[in-house]
């Protein structure tokens, strides 16, 4: 009798052991698989960086540091400099952010603080739908609708308005082409608006109601609550959203290519055509004959990679800070 029960328990222990071993095995496989996936991302990132560096080596070793400071981009004499595309990339993105941030914050304040409940969802969805429009659509719309409108109405008026005012007349000098730096900045502003709005809305939701209610309680107006309580509390998070938007604006290619004018020049006027790094690559890569030409385009890609990397790192850092703050 006892022998039988002993046999049963020992066989039970054996099955248990087998099951545990199997569990351990599946767990190990699972852990290795996830780890490999994570490593794969790092390998890809490293691979992209290495291929960009090797691809651009010829241009960088020939032009050296002057690649960053030369405006000329001359395929005839094979003398290439990245200053005009870098300038165009930074200026269009900066103007886009300048326009999109106040509007984005405005929408977020309205949606979280003031909006009647039935309107909240439709407006929120509409803003998020803006993010879903493919960039080529923005490009076509910009070229066929927006640019002719700017050329015939807005630009002549602005040129006339600032005519003879030192500084401003240079910034808004003609001729009105319709497409140019300002047009692409405006298109970019529309494109980054949903990013800034939705992140700002999310961080506004993290403001404790008790803070806002106490402020209202001591007689603050809505403006004062927003200005003195909500925005200071979420400042870092807003900055993170702005940086993410900036990252998108810096790398945007198709819409910008349509409306920026693709001219390798730096002009004081915002109405003048210019170019960005990604637009230059998209335009010229297929047709770049000559190794130095191709290498210079890859070097442009490397510069954009570094700029975007820095911007995104700053964004991540800032979002991290607000997360730990909200957690605490």
């Amino acid at each position: 009798m006892s022998a039988v029960s002993e046999a049963v328990t020992s066989s039970g222990a054996r099955t248990r052991e087998a099951i545990v071993r199997r569990f351990a095995l599946t767990d190990t496989i699972f852990r290795t698989a996830t780890r490999l996936s994570a490593i794969l991302v790092l390998v890809l990132l490293g691979g992209v960086a290495i291929s960009l560096i090797t691809g651009s080596w010829q241009a960088l070793s020939k032009f050296g540091f002057s690649f960053l400071t030369t405006e000329s981009w001359n395929p005839v004499t094979e003398n290439f400099g990245a200053l005009a595309p870098i300038y165009g990339t930074i200026v269009t993105s900066a103007i886009a952010i300048l326009i999109a941030v106040p509007i984005g914050i405005g929408i977020a304040v309205f949606l979280t603080e003031l909006c009647p409940r039935p309107l909240r969802r439709p407006i929120g969805i509409a803003v998020e739908l803006l993010a879903g429009i493919p960039s080529i659509i923005y490009g076509i719309w910009g070229l066929f609708v927006f640019a002719p409108f700017l050329q015939t109405t807005v630009q002549p008026f602005v040129i006339w308005l600032f005519h003879g005012i030192p500084g401003l007349n240079g910034l808004f000098a003609g001729p009105p082409y319709g497409i140019g730096m300002l047009t692409s900045s405006l298109i970019l502003a529309i494109m980054v608006l949903p990013f800034i709005t939705s992140i700002t809305k999310d961080v506004f939701d993290t403001v404790p109601s008790v803070l806002k209610e106490s402020a209202y309680g001591i007689g603050c107006t809505t403006w004062e609550v927003t200005r003195r309580v909500v925005i200071p509390y979420t400042r870092v998070g807003i900055m993170g959203g702005v940086m993410l938007g900036l990252g998108r604006a810096l790398g945007e290619t198709m819409a910008v290519t349509f409306v920026i004018g693709n001219a390798h020049r730096i002009s004081a006027s915002l109405f003048a055509p210019g170019t960005t790094i990604s637009a230059t690559i998209a335009n010229e890569f297929t047709e770049a004959d000559g190794e130095l030409y191709t290498s210079s385009l890859v070097a442009l890609g490397l510069i954009l990679f570094i700029i975007t990397f820095i911007i995104l790192a700053i964004a991540r850092y800032m979002l991290l800070r607000i997360d730990s703050k909200a957690g605490a």
Binding site: L143, F144, T286, D289
Partner: protein
């Protein structure tokens, strides 16, 4: 569940088999890549050729520079370029080059109240506009050529190609020929450092931007100007005569050319003499290997080109391209029989 898995496996196997058979069918097609300028006529020829022989053409119009890259990498059977390769380049890579068809480049403008062919420009004025010396439509130099046209006080918006292009090569070749200023400041290439203006991708891009921008001037291949109903201008040619961009004017320019003067028939037809000649005429070339690895594919491609030379003239004319003169075709086919050979030195092409 098991049943489902089995049927899924069968379905996948069948799909794989069918893709394999599709790609086997694709292998019989002629593959080529290159210039966008002749794409409309190549597509039309290919369509008619397929109906007659069952052999299709897979032509990617990725641009002349791309075509040269692809043929160098041997990913296609033939490359197509609007800018001819130099004799020494052809020899070092082992390529044969021959012209396929010709066409014209026309200046197009967007001026209110100006109809197609109403405006006349000449080479030096065109060069001055594109170099940024003439910036307004009521400039004296333009007025002098057009005493009867009411020219507006409007800034000139120059539109050029933003990508490398054989059309740009031929256009800048002409401007350099007529303007020393252009030659020294800008030069001749498929891509340039443009002193003024806005860049647009492809013939379509330039056509669209000119149509969208008031006061614009650009240059496109004639077929694009025609399809988009753009306002083209007339030009004054080398003999000082005013000419309209027509197929007759393009072929007049070609008739005066000495095709055997350059290796690989690399004659650029810009600014040819002759009272009827359109000054911005250009040919487009085909590149194939003289000793191809895949002789069957090259043989099929040459058959297609021979067929196009022989039967494609009317289709070309319908799209405002100019077919090659018969004497040139004869010389090209003799060159094929002599130069394009398999590994035993036997000619690949042996007549239709």
């Amino acid at each position: 569940m098991r049943h489902f898995i089995r049927s899924a496996v069968v379905a996948i196997a069948m799909a794989a088999a069918s893709t394999i058979s599709i790609s086997a069918a694709m292998a019989a097609d002629i593959s080529g890549a290159g210039a966008t300028f002749p794409y409309p006529i190549y597509a039309k020829w290919a369509d008619a050729y397929k109906k007659e022989t069952g052999i299709g053409l897979n032509y990617q119009s990725i641009g002349s520079g791309g075509g040269i890259k692809q043929i160098k990498a041997k990913t296609v059977t033939f490359g197509a370029s609007d800018a001819p390769l130099k004799g020494e380049d052809l020899d070092s890579i082992g390529l044969a080059q021959f012209p396929m068809v010709m066409g014209g480049i026309v200046p197009v403008v967007n001026l209110e109240g100006v109809k197609p062919g109403e405006l006349v420009l000449d080479g030096p004025v065109l060069a001055d506009i594109f170099v940024g010396k003439i910036t307004n439509w009521n400039d004296e130099a333009i007025k002098k050529l057009n005493p009867d046209v009411k020219l507006p006080d409007q800034a000139i918006a120059v539109v050029h190609r933003s990508d490398g292009s054989g059309t740009t090569f031929n256009f800048s070749y002409y401007l350099a020929d007529v303007s020393a200023d252009w030659k020294s400041k800008v030069g001749v290439n498929t891509a340039l450092e443009w002193p003024v203006g806005i860049g647009a991708k492809g013939n379509e891009g330039v056509a669209n931007n000119v149509a969208q921008t008031g006061g614009a001037i650009g240059y496109v291949e004639y077929a694009y100007a025609k399809q988009n109903k753009l306002i083209y201008t007339d030009l004054i040619n080398k003999d000082g005569k005013k000419v309209e961009p027509t197929a007759a004017a393009f072929s007049a320019a070609a008739a005066n050319a000495d095709w055997s003067s350059k290796p690989g028939y690399g004659v650029i037809l810009a600014n040819q003499a002759g009272a009827e000649s359109w000054p911005m005429t250009s040919a487009t070339w085909i590149l194939v290997y003289k000793k191809p690895d895949d002789t069957a594919a090259t043989g099929e491609a040459l058959k297609f080109f021979a067929w196009s030379y022989g039967k494609g003239d009317e289709m070309a004319a319908g799209l405002d391209y100019v077919p090659m003169p018969d004497a040139v075709v004869k010389s090209v086919e003799e060159m094929w029989a002599k130069d394009i050979v398999d590994s035993n030195g036997k000619p690949i092409y042996s007549g239709m």
